[in-house]
Subunit: 387 residues, 2 copies
């Protein structure tokens, strides 16, 4: 039931029956779109775009609301339609207001365009176009089916919500999560090279949950030699999970014939490159949309240096490892004003340890608070600096 | 109104009119003491002991509950008495069940012994004796005044709540908070030595609140030379707070005659020592009960190495500073099993930054999860280690 996709790009106001988002009608829907944007913020930040949707009756009453709850769950549109139905509303002839163009492809869930057509809606208003190669064309599909389609209402607000996602989609590369388990002084091993275990059983079990969600797990050849990891995703009971990520060894070193990572299921790949961009191109070619780097420090450092870590899952044990091995190596020194910055998405206590989930902040380094001014005029030594 | 203190130590069951905690009567109060211990856990961990109290009528009905809410607020006993009064209860002839021996000294609050006597209570049951030089003798004071005093009920549970506090009290040293403001890779300055500002305005304002709560602020002579800090406590409006901590420069280097830290209020001290123990002895002599180390890395490292950091307030900015200056230096390398460990007490988002508050875990290094076993049998290289 995959619809034909077309190569439509950007705004839809200029082609076919679609109308421009600046029409008075669309502008009247601005408060509704703001509500959809609010709903979108409930989507956990991560590999998927944050999307919200509101279903209206033909006279403008709100019938249902929905948002994307994360990978493998229904998209915002079917969620909003289901919400309306569960309240006993008839949505036929109504309007759906969405923060992102409805997808027209079958991923883990069916295409949203078909859900909208089946529901008998008459009009679709969305904020930002979906530039994803596989998902785009949704607006064209709906317009061709005779619906009124309006694009671009509060587009920038929606794009701001999904900046990093849009960027990697435009680049055609997978979403990159780096997972590190460190001491509070950011070390992944003690002065003797010992890393098992810095974090608690609870933290390690939690990290297994991550393995079950990604398409590929990456380690460098150094970690391979040191730890001989299996890299399989395991269930809370310790059994191999049904869905296994691709096991990827990155680097120019050899992978021994008896390395545990090879396994027997054909889901092992050795990418002979040290270039993060090249590695991601290869993994995109192999169909991976979300990859996770598990170490070691050189591989993590290379991806951080390249600005290719979208998300950092930091399991932090409350202990000190002076003289230990830093979690990321090979990074070029940068001045404070040019530092790679993240945004804290959330924290969680896992036994004695703290999980800090951070998302990369796109674009140029962002200075916090009054830092911009302070950095501009700070004399490094001597003068009183009000502290 | 300070009562005469006596040199009573340890259990009170063997002297004067006080009875033994193991009496059937006291044992019947065990559920009440458990409730008091629960209340005690509401006291924020920090420089003060965690204490809870329950007031009972002479026929055993609960009249009021209280706990110590932190420095400068009423102790658990007056809080529980006030709770009973606010509910309209007559507490005369009743019993108070407390997790710690009532204090008999005037600190920021009046002595609890006097509050108990004024309230007309007939019996006092407490778990752990207060070994503090200035506060002890409370049980004797109450017994001499004719009350029935029972000590030792669930003493170990109470002591476990206040292990670190009891230890430092026995040593007669101040409580030590170390405050660090770091990048996510635990650096306090970038590769060029720049530290202003790693954390946000919100985080820095929050840290000022700490300055207003402690008795002394410590910096090393290196930080003095680099930053020429004033070290004053300031109000949220940026004015000097009414109550100013002692400003302490630690180290053998000189303090310039025009150093800002000298101020004009006579609250400046230069402690010419590099030994944390000696520094704390001197500050105890000057009456400081709670000191805060603000840096730099050598001073923080020396206190950490000596095991003399009770509490670590870690303001962590979500950025990377490769090649930067670590927040603690001079620490001897330790194996994972011997690492200095903390317990995460809480986290708070302050603008973009994360405050992680940690308390030192007393005694020998504690291994987390299955670490003990794993460390025992881990071969460092080669063998498969199930990850």
């Amino acid at each position: 039931m995959t619809p034909t996709t077309t190569a439509a790009r950007g705004e839809h106001g200029s082609s076919g029956p679609a109308q421009n988002g600046a029409s008075p009608d669309a502008a009247a829907l601005e408060p509704v779109m703001r509500r959809a944007l609010e709903l979108a913020q409930r989507t956990p930040a991560g590999a998927n775009p944050r999307v919200g949707a509101v279903v209206l009756s033909d006279d403008g009453a709100v019938l249902g609301e929905g948002w994307h709850r994360g990978a493998g769950t229904p998209h915002a549109e079917p969620a909003a339609l289901e919400d309306a139905r569960s309240r006993g509303h008839d949505v036929r002839g109504g309007t759906i207001v969405i923060t992102l163009e409805p997808c027209s492809h079958t991923g883990r869930t069916p295409p949203c365009t078909e859900a909208i057509l089946e529901a008998g809606l008459r009009r679709v208003v969305f904020a930002a176009p979906d530039a994803t190669a596989e998902a785009r064309g949704g607006a064209d599909r709906l317009a061709e089916a005779g619906l009124t389609v309006q694009a671009g209402l509060l587009r920038e607000d929606s794009e701001a919500l999904n900046e990093r996602w849009a960027q990697r989609m435009a680049e055609g590369r997978p979403f990159v999560t780096a997972k590190v388990a460190t001491s509070l002084d950011f070390c992944v091993a003690d002065a003797e090279g010992r890393s098992q275990w810095i974090t608690s059983e609870q933290a390690r079990a939690h990290a297994q949950g991550l393995r079950r969600r990604v398409d590929a797990i990456l380690v460098g050849t150094g970690t391979l030699a040191a730890d001989n990891p299996r890299l399989t995703a395991r269930t809370p009971r310790g059994e191999d999970a049904e869905r296994q990520p691709l096991r990827v060894v990155v680097g120019l070193g050899e992978v021994p014939a008896d390395a545990a990572v090879r396994g027997t299921d054909g889901r092992f790949v050795h990418v002979r490159s040290r270039e993060p961009e090249a590695v991601l191109r290869e993994l995109a070619r192999l169909g991976a949309g979300h990859v996770m780097i598990e170490g070691g420090p050189r591989l993590v450092g290379a991806f951080l240096e390249a600005g290719l870590v979208d998300e950092l899952w930091h399991y932090q044990a409350p202990l000190l490892l002076p003289g230990g091995l830093p979690a990321a190596s090979g990074l070029a020194p940068r001045a404070l004003g040019d530092a790679a910055r993240f945004r804290v998405e959330g924290t969680e206590l896992l036994g004695p340890d703290l999980l800090i989930r951070r998302m990369a902040v796109s674009g140029e380094a962002v200075t916090t608070g009054a830092a911009g001014n302070e950095l501009g005029r700070a004399a490094l030594y001597g003068a009183e600096k009000n502290h």
